[in-house]
Subunit: 319 residues, 2 copies
């Protein structure tokens, strides 16, 4: 069995452990998409924000699909890929959008995103997880501080920190409506959490995290060292972040939803194994175990999907 480089939820005391993995796996030179400076920023802070990435047409296309999927999901609420807000019952997340939506499938293959992942991970990549996070207005709940890697490692068996997340904002993200908060440079430490994880924990944890929660003392240490940065921007802002960066977000009591699409690209050499927390594996829609497909970068993928849709639409109209 592979040794566990990042033990968590095993001891009775929290621990701050060193990261054993690189952050940027390629040389710190200009890459396919990212410049040397951008790679250095990512290496240092653990995240990178890119604006003016998409055209207005592309953003409108994504927003329309966001709304279409929400309306469709209202009718398939009991489907396990659809997660509701615990109190209001509003749609909170939809999983596996790279399979369930033609538009988001195309987005996941878009060369601009895939090549960012390849620029950082220096490998072929596949989608480990994808989702839409709606965070509806008035009653959107907070996400408490967490490292995604901690969960993916313990609950899914992701061995190493060789995965990155790309989030595309689909509404304006403001300081008021629960924009993502990052602790810069926190990706260099691994916070080993206390407490065992119950079986089928994921059914609750997608609504509210109760295990794999970092302790106050470690969070204070990270925040005092790195500060707290909130990622705000108009719809279409792209946020790239390391799998181990400590992040969270406030709730949303404003009338304005804070919606994002979220893709996790994992190196094909970093495929998941038996979960390190000795649990039964979580379902495929949360952590791809069998459905592994290398994502090849496709130029203008998003617009091609849109063009096809429009052609179909005009054919239907003409017919």
């Amino acid at each position: 069995m592979l040794s566990d480089l990042y033990p968590s939820r095993k001891g009775t005391e929290p621990q701050i452990l060193l990261r054993h993995d690189p952050v940027v796996y390629t040389d710190l030179q200009d890459g396919l998409v990212l410049t040397r400076e951008q790679k250095e920023d990512f290496d240092r802070n653990g995240f990178l924000v890119l604006t003016n990435f998409f055209s207005d047409i592309e953003i409108r296309l994504l927003q329309r699909e966001l709304e279409d999927l929400r309306l469709k999901s209202e009718n398939i609420r009991q489907h396990r890929e659809v997660i509701s807000e615990p109190q209001s019952g509003d749609i909170r997340s939809i999983f596996r959008i790279h399979k369930n939506s033609r538009v988001f499938e195309k987005l996941s293959r878009d060369a601009r995103l895939v090549n960012v992942a390849r620029d950082i991970l220096a490998d072929d990549v596949y989608i480990h997880q994808s989702r839409l996070n709606y965070k509806p207005g008035f009653e959107g709940r907070e996400f408490y501080w967490h490292s995604d890697f901690e969960t993916w490692h313990v609950e899914d068996g992701l061995p190493n920190m060789r995965a990155i997340s790309i989030s595309v904002t689909l509404t304006e993200n403001t300081p008021q409506n629960g924009a993502l908060m990052m602790i810069p440079s926190s990706h260099r430490d691994f916070i080993s959490c206390v407490g065992e994880t119950p079986e089928e924990h994921y059914k609750e944890s997608l609504k509210k995290q109760e295990y794999g929660v970092p302790d106050h003392h470690s969070l204070e240490y990270l925040a005092n060292k790195g500060g707290i940065e909130q990622v705000t921007g108009p719809a279409g802002t792209v946020v790239i972040f390391d799998s181990n960066i400590m992040h969270g977000s406030n709730g949303n009591i404003t009338p304005y939803s804070r919606s994002n699409a979220f893709f996790v690209y994992n190196s094909v050499q970093n495929r998941i194994r038996a979960p390190f927390g000795s649990l039964s594996p979580r379902p495929e829609f949360i952590a791809a175990r069998k459905e592994i497909e290398i994502v090849m970068p496709e130029e203008n993928a998003l617009l091609s999907s849109s063009a096809q849709n429009w052609q179909q639409a005009s054919r239907r109209t003409a017919g």
Copy 2:
């Protein structure tokens, strides 16, 4: 019986009613403390933020008292003036600080605050309510949108909008740690809420508001019209706001507490009567009914309290 200008929690449909009361009761001319421009700002937006109000010594004095009271309150948790966070049990608020703390009593009499109240209300004033809000780090809970006046009217019998609130920040208030959010100009509309109020509601409402909650549609109307402004600033920032402005705040998952002192000055002509919601009156520590004492402005009140404390301290040391 006085007619109810602002009915709320009586009907089955929310309503947006006009404000019948002035906002600034004096002429829009330079006043005791406020300039003409500041009065105009307050009149238009319903709130005003003043920085560089206190000296560093004064701020440190207030912060020390904040921490002393928190530590003392840990031991008198069962006291009804001490409110805890529902989940963590941390101290959330302490009421009646203008009676329970020499330092905050002095602050409440400080000419700079009292004369702001007199500048706006054009009358002698007394303290209707005072409190410390701690909003501790990691687990500070949100305050959902509300108009203070709505509650004070329905639950306490405050007849008119002739009271103002003054909040003094005692830690840095940032966009991340749950700073106050205001809807500018919302003080011009009164949102009549639905639903009756159960008896002794205050015991729960100080932790989490469930009645007198404005509806989504009215909030959207107000926010689309006035926007949402977050009030941030270093410790010692003074926020003056109208009793009817719609405001709220996010939770606080950062390690840094967001603490404020809060005083409500009411015009002596606007003393509370029987609650308009036909409930038993709330206790004196939440709404002063008998303990009415005109607050006369005192120059350098805060520093004089500090000087006295220091004299006492040195006497003790010397003795």
